[in-house]
Point group: C2
């Protein structure tokens, strides 16, 4: 069978399964996820053996050590995957929720009710734990899921998929509810991305290259997350002790993730006091600092920040610093260089805090808190399937609810239109 | 200037304007819409004169009479456009609404707040009234709008655009908030559809050809509405008098629109009684009927419905009729041939009504009411910018709220992540 036809058969089976999934009770879906958690733990040895095949090949191919680490399934990571499924099972089910109902003058009642999206395709890179995590979120929200991981994790993903599919079979649910695409044919993704009549949403998870490839080749709606160039603006009326703690946390607590701060904006009225303080503590934490001309005047010898620095998502212990003349200039900087991810103001000025919340339209806008909270778990969504930095459907961290849509329901007693 | 560059300049100006629009008070936006309504009425003569140029060319080109009618701006239609703007001004403003706020264990408060999408592109065909209608909805929801109408309405659209832009100027608002693209260059649309960094959403309004062209050529998210193949299922436990009224209304009250019924499904247990009754009243209303074999046994001489009929969006006084053995068969028919638009069940069986509402995942699902209510005004959204039959972002009729997205807002007092 040609790869295009193979993907179509698979997507049609997923669509068929999605109709049943949409009608499952929460209890049944939770039973499924909990059984999957046990099956992963019981299959730990087998998973490690299959994972070892991927690791062997990775080492043969001289894969970077950080990549090999991401690829590795230890007993602890397998327990974490199982734990993730148990957490999702414990979350409230969004499906069926009626988000509003109203009576029209002619007596019909109109409501909006959450339903699953249908079939979700996840295209991801090396981490095999995504297979179980994404499957749990999609199934809990009543969606069928098609998973396409990277070729470097093919044995691991196939083994996880087989274990999870066996659980579907044991519970007499369609195995097509969860399918792992493990063909070595590199056209599989391109073919999947054409199936707009069968697949309702594509979520790419990985580097910018993968996301751009998927976005540019997909006929199916894609939820994109390119990068996180997060700003913290320390206002003239900030509590500088608080500002220091927030900035330090935002930069160094975990620099390699998208919600870490990349650029620090400081109001000129507090720069003379705050800049030496934050420079000292950042340098103590091993952060390389690059500043604007005004910052260099206060801290002689500070490296120069160029246009590229204002655009950079370092994902590393590097920070760009700019001194601004006003809140307006900070806002303009964020509008020019921001990525619509997360922006923070540190201030004790009530009016300015309200302006910042109102005027900055990034997906997450914070007052007096670390940008590191910009995450589905931290914000209270319970779990996270991804982060959207484009505005359609979802904006910001996405939880279970973001894997649903709403239909209108109408209850009449014979009304017709005049 | 090359057309690509021209569109980029225009889209950048729209994006710049959108930042201001996002912060306008509801009062200011309402003032704008009401002033636009007056300006359209005041410019009625001028609009008709410009419209006459389009009509002259249309007649020269032997445009079909129905199309010429759509293109025509009468004094009454201009008053209706103005009235539409006044209605939108009277609607509640979705922007700024906080749809939920919760406290996390560490004391941060997390909320979700509605914000405009940013810049919306509307690509439409002949009706010039879309120019004012769409502009009103986009501006009220704080979005900048780029309007590209059909070449056949170019003089009319340009005149409407000029009047509305003058109002923006008079109120000292950026004219780039509303731009009508009136170049004769046919590549303008294709170029606009590439500008994913400037334009947030594209809404095509017109025939299936236009919508497919836009969907296939756009890098920007598109809200699609291909067609409405709406079903009414008359159950064995239906009140047949009610069923007749609902079916008749759904088919004949306005057959040329997407929420008209196209296929009637009848349970076999009531077919012998109901079919002759509905055939008689449909024929009295001039409806051409096409039935399955079982229907032909009850009504000798009934035309044969083929596979094509089950897929057809007639938009005309034609109806396909199928007798089904069970609710399950009706559901299967809808899943196979439906367009996810609107489906209706007529029944007095409580359990079955609940199953239908739960199991049929079209964008609008009704019990005992005419499918003709599937419309933003009728469902109580106040106005309608379009209907989405794909599930991302919006599903079904779209009102002002659907032109917004939600950002997260976080209020802290110095929290950092541990």
């Amino acid at each position: 069978m040609a790869i295009g036809e193979e993907m179509l058969v698979l997507a049609r089976a997923a669509q068929q399964a999605s109709r049943l999934l949409a009608t499952l009770s929460s209890a049944k879906k939770n039973e499924l996820l909990l059984a999957m958690a046990i099956a992963l733990e019981d299959g730990s040895k087998q998973l490690q053996a299959e994972n070892e095949k991927d690791l062997t090949r990775a080492r043969e191919n001289k894969m970077a050590e950080a990549m090999v680490d991401r690829l590795t399934l230890t007993p602890e990571r397998i327990r974490e995957m199982a734990g993730g499924l148990r957490e999702v099972a414990a979350l409230p089910d969004p499906v069926g929720e009626i988000t509003g109902m109203w009576l029209r003058p002619n007596g019909i009642q109109v409501g909006r009710q959450r339903i699953p999206l249908g079939v979700i395709g996840i295209i991801y890179e090396s981490r095999p734990n995504v297979t179980a995590d994404a499957a749990g979120l999609c199934l809990k929200s009543g969606n069928a899921v098609i998973l396409r991981g990277g070729s470097e994790a093919i044995h691991s993903n196939r083994a996880i998929g087989a274990i999870l599919q066996q659980v579907l079979k044991d519970l007499e649910l369609p195995q097509a509810a969860l399918q792992v695409v493990t063909t070595s044919d590199r056209n599989a993704v391109t073919e999947l991305l054409q199936l707009e009549d069968q697949i309702d949403l594509i979520i790419p998870r990985g580097g910018e290259g993968l996301i751009r490839f998927v976005a540019e080749n997909s006929k199916i709606p894609v939820i994109k997350h390119y990068k996180g160039v997060c700003h913290t603006y320390v206002d003239a009326h900030a509590d500088l002790q608080m500002a220091e703690e927030i900035c330090l946390n935002a930069k160094v607590q975990r620099p390699g993730v998208c919600n870490a701060m990349e650029t620090l904006l400081i109001h000129r009225d507090c720069a003379a006091e705050f800049l030496p303080q934050i420079v000292a503590s950042m340098e103590k934490s091993g952060v390389e600092l690059r500043g604007c001309v005004a910052a260099q005047k206060i801290i002689p010898g500070l490296l120069t920040a160029t246009e590229e620095d204002w655009q950079a998502e370092y994902l590393d212990l590097i920070l760009a610093i700019r001194i601004v003349d006003s809140y307006e200039q900070a806002r303009e900087h964020i509008e020019t260089y921001g990525s619509l991810h997360t922006e923070v103001i540190v201030t004790d000025d009530y009016r300015l805090s309200q302006r910042f919340l109102r005027e900055i339209n990034s997906s997450v806008v914070m007052v007096n808190a670390s940008s590191r909270f910009s995450d589905g778990h931290q914000l209270g969504l319970g779990a996270e399937i991804g982060i959207s930095t484009s505005k359609l459907h979802s904006f910001g961290p996405m939880g279970l609810e973001d894997l649903t849509t709403r239909k209108f329901i109408v209850l009449g007693d014979g009304q017709v239109r005049r």
